[in-house]
Subunit: 242 residues, 2 copies
């Protein structure tokens, strides 16, 4: 039984721009169904030309890219509210893969309806571009982190970003939030080796800055973690929800 957009749980988060009744009506029509998948299930593969687009409704996943040398770069983590497949929608095919890390529920949209959206809903079209710009912004920050920060700073940056996003989504209870990834995933996101990632996490635990174990991330003093990362600790910018 699909969730009605009108009652979409994501709309409770202040992270997203509010929908007008008209927006909701349109999305209700744009949405063609719901998809529930298990951890490890691929959603979109690089090179694929999927006829469908998604919005993560529940659960978490990751976007990644494989290189010829066998190494993997995780581009970012997929959280509830993230739009998946825009690249395929406008460029023709995906340039990276997406897969679920926890159980996920996805809203499914028909790619063919995209053109209709641009023609009849300029505001929604604008929002799509906005979403693309938000992604671009985040990738830029990630690039700066991987390129210019050391392992400890980078990890602190990543965990801070994750915690911030988790808070905005209401996933944090008692300074803890679910984080259903493997250390290898974070390693591949930050361009670090698995071993070094493990040791870096151990240090953060020793320093009592962040404790990530058994899929649960606990951060007592987010400000302190952000300071270690030498990052601007600004509130997340609002973003549209498709």
């Amino acid at each position: 039984m699909a969730t009605a957009c009108e009652h979409c749980p994501l709309r409770r988060s202040k992270l997203f721009v509010e929908h007008s009744p008209d927006d909701t009506r349109f999305m209700e029509r744009f949405k063609v169904g719901e998809l529930t998948i298990n951890p490890g299930t691929p959603v979109l593969m690089e090179g694929s030309n999927s006829p469908q687009l998604f919005t993560a409704l529940r659960g978490m996943g990751l976007r990644y890219k494989m290189l010829q040398n066998g190494r993997r770069q995780v581009l970012n983590l997929v959280f509830p509210g993230d739009f998946i497949g825009l690249q395929a929608g406008v460029m023709g095919e995906m340039q990276h893969s997406v897969e679920a890390s926890s159980a996920m529920t996805l809203c499914v949209f028909d790619r063919a309806g995209l053109w209709n959206l641009f023609r009849s809903q300029p505001e929604r079209a604008f929002n799509l571009t906005w979403l693309a710009a938000v992604e671009e912004h985040f990738l830029g920050e990630s690039l700066a982190t991987v390129g210019q920060r050391g392992a400890m700073e980078a990890m602190a940056w990543a965990l801070t970003k994750i915690m911030q996003r988790g808070e905005a989504l209401g996933m944090v209870e008692n300074r803890a939030m679910p984080l259903p990834y493997r250390q290898q995933d974070l390693a591949d996101a930050l361009g670090l080796s698995l071993v070094h990632t493990n040791k870096t996490l151990a240090k953060l635990r020793d320093r009592q800055l962040a404790n990530w174990r058994d899929g649960l991330l606990i951060v007592n003093d987010l400000k302190e973690l952000a300071k270690l990362a030498e990052m601007d600790f600004a509130p997340l910018p609002k973003r549209p929800l498709m």
Copy 2:
């Protein structure tokens, strides 16, 4: 004397999606002027809320982001045909800075006209989103390079990409193209130190794979360079020109 869109020199390149007469007519109205600047001149600053958007018409520049620790990450190089300022256009303010590396000529657009574009030119709006997706794709590749490739591979990747782009734009003559950057710029783009960048370039010269001196990049065998980078050597995807 501003260049008429109809006679835009960029339209000769096969890199860009062709304009319909209607497109050209619209762009002619959307374009409010032309800007010529000297090397080193900033175009947009991080945090700025510029009322203007640009398309690079001639010359080259770079986008970058400064970190609190004083280090700089170059996000990508700006080549003719690149659109500048989309982030400010949709998100409100720039998340990175842009400056000229060579003398540049920019087409200037009025940000206020953006909304009109979305409302009355769905096809152009679609192209804007397309452009954002192209940027996202490139940033993803850069992230993968900085995160997962060694210095030599990374440099080979960068020079290959540059040469490819240069070829598509008709900037390559006799296997050589202008590349008006400092070694520090490439270093900041790849997350390498200046010294190591210098030594890596020296090795590429020794191996006769790439020779970049005095603002001129010479590559005799692009295939060979791409092989060293272990990259997929696919032709650049077409992109829209605003």
